[in-house]
Symmetry: C2
């Protein structure tokens, strides 16, 4: 294994000088710095990050907490964060909280104990004491505590948009799937949807769901059809729930979109691969990830920040589970 002494020998300088270069501390002449950097490169020397971070109290490591990597929405967020971080040579470690508050605390603890310089958290528990006591910057992603830096999509407008589009296309007996109560963005979009349905003077039915997991969505789809078999329009809590509704509708012989329209939420990558393709409200997940990373980098580097709440727009993606406008609407 290469040691700092090998680097010093090759560069023809003292160990202390190599240390100053590596730790970016104290004065080193530019020529000397260059020699050391070349020796580091040539020997493929990797200083022990732990020792370095103890000394410098500074790493370029960021912790990213996701609530559920099995939901294809979150890997898109993660990719955005990762790509943006990589541009400035920050590295990322992930934790998957599984929407469990204790697991989340454990991961944040792990991040801190490994000297991350900042955290991006898609948490359902932004008011948890663990965030309050953190001494490093946190950006909340896809979750919106009012007082902290955050990046999110306009969920309420997304709900309104889903309702307007499905009504415009002729649905009159609409069922709205209400996402898990502890997931704030799911509640925002639910409230937006019923706001627009009420404004249109229509009635609506609600199916309450308690998770977004693949194991459960089939059950709620069953419940929907057994309770509200005459429904002609479903606003799903997300694309996974919409997939389950579409599957069940086709299985029992409904025609989609003729008998029943379905609108999802998120626009996960597989939405376009369904048959018919899923109409949905798109959240710009990749861009949200990039924005959160950009905001956190600014916080870490103590750069000036114009806006610590970044809201990105949602949009309606028209595919095959909704009818063409004007043909029925």
């Amino acid at each position: 294994m290469t040691t700092i002494k090998d680097v010093a020998n090759l560069a023809g300088v003292s160990v202390a000088t190599v240390s100053r270069v590596i730790n970016e501390r104290g004065y080193v002449h530019a020529d000397t710095r260059k020699k050391v950097e070349e020796a580091v490169k040539q020997l493929n020397f990797s200083p022990n990050e732990v020792a370095r971070s103890l000394y410098k109290r500074k790493s370029k490591l960021i912790g990213l907490l996701l609530p559920d990597i099995a939901n294809p929405y979150f890997p898109q967020l993660a990719r955005g964060v990762e790509d943006r971080m990589q541009e400035q040579e920050f590295r990322l470690i992930f934790g998957n909280s599984d929407e469990d508050e204790q697991k989340e605390k454990d991961y944040i603890q792990t991040f801190i104990q490994n000297n991350v310089v900042g955290v991006i958290s898609s948490t359902n528990y932004p008011h948890s004491s663990i965030y309050e006591n953190l001494k490093i910057p946190v950006v909340f992603l896809d979750r919106t505590p009012l007082d902290s830096p955050s990046v999110f999509a306009d969920g309420r407008e997304g709900g309104r948009l889903a309702a307007r589009e499905i009504i415009k296309r002729g649905s009159r007996r609409i069922t709205v799937m209400q996402g898990p109560a502890h997931i704030k963005p799911a509640q925002d979009r639910f409230e937006g949807a019923i706001e627009s349905i009420r404004q249109a003077g229509l009635d609506y039915r609600v199916i309450q769901t308690t998770s977004f997991s693949f194991n459960d969505v089939g059950l709620w789809a069953d419940e929907l059809f057994s309770k509200y078999g005459d429904t002609d329009g479903v606003i799903a809590s997300n694309d996974i729930a919409a997939m389950a509704v579409l599957h069940e509708a086709l299985r029992i012989g409904k025609k989609v979109p003729e008998d029943m329209q379905i609108i999802g939420f998120d626009d996960i990558p597989m939405s376009s691969l369904l048959s018919p393709g899923l109409s949905t409200i798109r959240q710009p997940a990749y861009e949200m990830g990039r924005e959160a990373a950009g905001l956190l980098i600014k916080l870490v580097e103590q750069a000036p920040i114009e806006n610590k709440h970044i809201q990105l727009p949602v949009s309606f993606i028209e595919r095959g589970t909704t009818r063409k406008v004007n043909s029925d609407g």
Copy 2:
């Protein structure tokens, strides 16, 4: 912030004693240990993991490298690893290599520099020098270098099984999608499939693909139908590719499974939510993750190991994209 001194004061012992308890090093009387542990708990004291691991040279942190978290197969693996690790209080940090060798090296470096005690890697580059030089145990997951501890499914048998099942159900003009050349399990299943097709005395056509990404699968589905429009059976390289083929088949008016049967690979969670449901070869991803974690824990704890190559069986999951046996076969 709570310090080790606060803990010592509350427990009525010296700082050195607290240190011995925390670092599980040297003799401490059981009663004293209990007092310290209670003080730690009461003060919610979290010793700096970095300082601890420097001192003890031992953490309970594991690094898990995944090639692509956007492919829903990998979050299932990750969940298995996580659940098993948690049972023995190991913690996990993730890296997502995006099937890029340089990114993979960077993540392994990050893991090491943060003093992980072991690595689980779903790598496409198991022979990379970075693994050779690691001084901590590595378990390869879903990838099978012959000389290193590994957990994998029987991909070749999976390929054979897909071919046997599709032939038994009447397909005669079969197209096999060959996965990316650098992904060994994809090549195994490809070779298994053509082996069984040849044994049945049938001809076959091949579509070569270079990635599993959602952005690209649609193109290969297009290519398949424009080149081999008369094909009556598709063995897809994985479930995502199968989804794209199913989507395109239905779009151009083919009846599935009457005109064309499709078999996927993996059994990702959304396979059952497609319409018709996707018939596929199941890899027991969750169980594979658990086995890999169990094997790594044994290696870390230097426990005796009976078998360092754990192969799990694959199975045929019959859904709606294949015909009932005996009706056409």
